[in-house]
Symmetry: C2
Subunit: 382 residues, 2 copies
């Protein structure tokens, strides 16, 4: 093992090359070293600033409102599906990975009817098939799509999907989780009723808060749809509108950290700046891993700059757990695969990670592969 | 206004004399200034330690298991009710405040049948009436009770309720939220299927995590009961048992802070030490406020040492908002009332608050009342 010090974040932690929770700045975490009352004016002002900032990221500040949801991103997705889809509604669920499948499971449990269009994990949905399904079933009220399906890292064509859904007069519900803040999404051009995301992805906050950015007119139609108390976005919104306060204890520290993270996001230049850095990270990572002999799962035109899936090498000297553990010892946490189509692992490009970190990762990966005796690693450039 | 510096916590924040989120120690919050991967062994070990510590607090480590629930205490209560009560079950809901009413609303929305026994906010449930209701309706499968109803601060007689429920062969579900860790609860003597609480009450963590301490045999019977994905405690437990990991992103920083808070709870002597300090706080507060001329809502034998409700004085010079604001300026955050029976306000005794803080609060309250020209304030002792 090398004698160099492990890589570390500002707070001395391993760098998280994962789809989140991810490496956040010290200042984001430091914002949590205070206490606030949940009904206190200072906290309410911070929360209001957060809620108002989010629709601006999708150019929707005039027509959209944020409804926060305690818990995690999946809590926000379940809240979105069970609030927006009436009990008699029917959802066309677009699936090409675990998050699409999870939405179907949520709808099944909640007793909402579904139709599924499933494609392989490395393939986007087939627009012609969506068109055919919508044409053939007037009962489909909503379409559910995932912007970046973290299972593979694929970027789904939400603009084209939204146009098709609008042409058929149906409603789009979007799981934007790992894409929100990094991939552009302009609600002036993309017709969408609700967008679910969370605090611990590309805005670079800590985990504990989901949120749904809701088209105001669509949210107003959802009274009485929900089949739970805590996940009812209409009720949550009504209470916050009335009092500024949450119905149930909010994760105050998480929200204050998210507020700091949003300020840092704006300082970096919003979606263009943040997404640009991630695209640089992804390019450095992908080029470097290819130079080491790895293959990516996805064609470049399908790859989002969020998380990259690599096929497991066939060389028997490559044992993933050893690779993972040796990288972890040296300060880099990567991510196991979740594919059903192929053996794979994943490396994330998001969080407080910069070009130098990606290069340091590649140097370390080369070192580890060499120690493992993996044959396909080319010699280090002189 | 006095020239003295406002009271402040270790981190310079106003002292929260509220039912939570509350004042926590600096060390609890400082534990959050790191990042962890959610699948990382270090985080999983911390989470496991937290989950194993909680049943010990109710003497149930052999027969009970903790199932965490992202969100807040109410998320845990809804998860408990909708996981433990089958779709054909019926719940006798004991109500003497807002938290009992909230449980009924959760059950109504989830389509579970209820029977209600409601008493005034300053009165415990009537055991003879519970006995009569259980005798008369064999369809009642569960009884729901609140240990300390924060609406008033009343301590409900859970030991007697549990004995009655057990005698009738029914199951008890307990909302222990603001009592957990401060009021003794021994599951070797109190028959209860599930106990819901949260990170930000008497264990003195930060908000963002609920949990349900479940009797293992009862939890095993709940497969398929839940009507949501995210709030399904059976599914959550099964996944954590299998992999050590949460199904959906956990609030990592909140859990790490809770781990630190649990260590500080043990260092203070567990329930005896923590509950003892709160009882001292409550006694100092109540004696001092009575000396200032205030009246408590509850008879001493009904009062839990968690939060004390005071009747609004009749003196027209006493304007609650002025009292609240002046105290806030001087570093003390108190709590509005939630009673329907009488005008009132509340002062909490929990969190990182000590005898000296309660005395400082009383001195400040005396000063504020004097400035407001409230007539009933006796002269300060020489």
């Amino acid at each position: 093992m090398s004698q160099i010090r492990p890589a570390a974040s500002e707070t001395g932690d391993p760098l998280l090359l994962t789809p989140g929770p991810l490496t956040t700045s010290r200042s984001v975490k430091q914002a949590m070293v205070h206490d606030w009352g949940s009904r206190d004016a200072a906290f309410i002002a911070i929360n209001t600033a957060v809620m108002e900032a989010l629709p601006r990221i999708v150019c929707g500040e005039d027509r959209y409102v944020t409804v926060p949801m305690q818990g995690s991103g999946t809590f926000a997705v379940e809240a979105m599906l069970t609030t927006f889809v009436p009990r008699g509604g029917k959802v066309l669920v677009l699936i090409n990975g675990a998050y699409g499948s999870r939405a179907r499971r949520i709808l099944d449990i909640a007793g909402r009817a579904t139709v599924v269009h499933e494609t392989a994990e490395d393939a986007p949905p087939d627009l012609a098939e969506i068109d055919r399904l919508l044409s053939g079933d007037a009962g489909i009220s909503h379409v559910f799509a995932v912007h970046c399906e973290t299972t593979s890292g694929i970027r789904n064509p939400v603009e084209a999907i939204a146009a098709l859904v609008a042409r058929h007069g149906r409603r789009l519900l979007l799981d934007a989780m790992s894409a929100f803040g990094a991939l552009p999404l302009d609600t002036r051009e993309v017709a969408v009723d609700a967008i679910a995301a969370s605090s611990n992805k590309c805005i670079q906050g800590v985990p504990g808060l989901g949120f749904v950015i809701c088209r105001k007119e669509a949210l107003a139609e959802t009274a009485g749809n929900a089949t739970t108390l805590v996940l009812d976005l209409h009720d949550q919104h009504a209470a916050i509108q009335k009092t500024g306060q949450y119905r149930f204890t909010p994760p105050i520290h998480v929200i204050v950290a998210f507020h700091q993270a949003l300020q840092e996001f704006q300082q970096e230049g919003g979606v263009a700046g943040r997404g640009g850095r991630y695209a640089d990270n992804a390019r450095i990572l992908t080029d470097g891993m290819r130079a080491l002999g790895f293959e990516t799962l996805l064609a470049p035109n399908l790859q989002a700059p969020i998380i990259v899936t690599f096929r497991m090498p066939e060389d028997p000297a490559f044992v993933f757990q050893r690779f993972y553990d040796a990288l972890k010892e040296r300060g880099f946490v990567i991510y196991p695969g979740k594919l059903t189509v192929a053996e794979s692992f994943r490396i994330g490009c998001i969080g407080d990670l910069h070009a130098k970190d990606m290069r340091a990762f590649l140097d370390t990966a080369r070192e580890v592969l060499s120690e493992m005796g993996v044959g396909f690693v080319p010699a280090k450039a002189a």
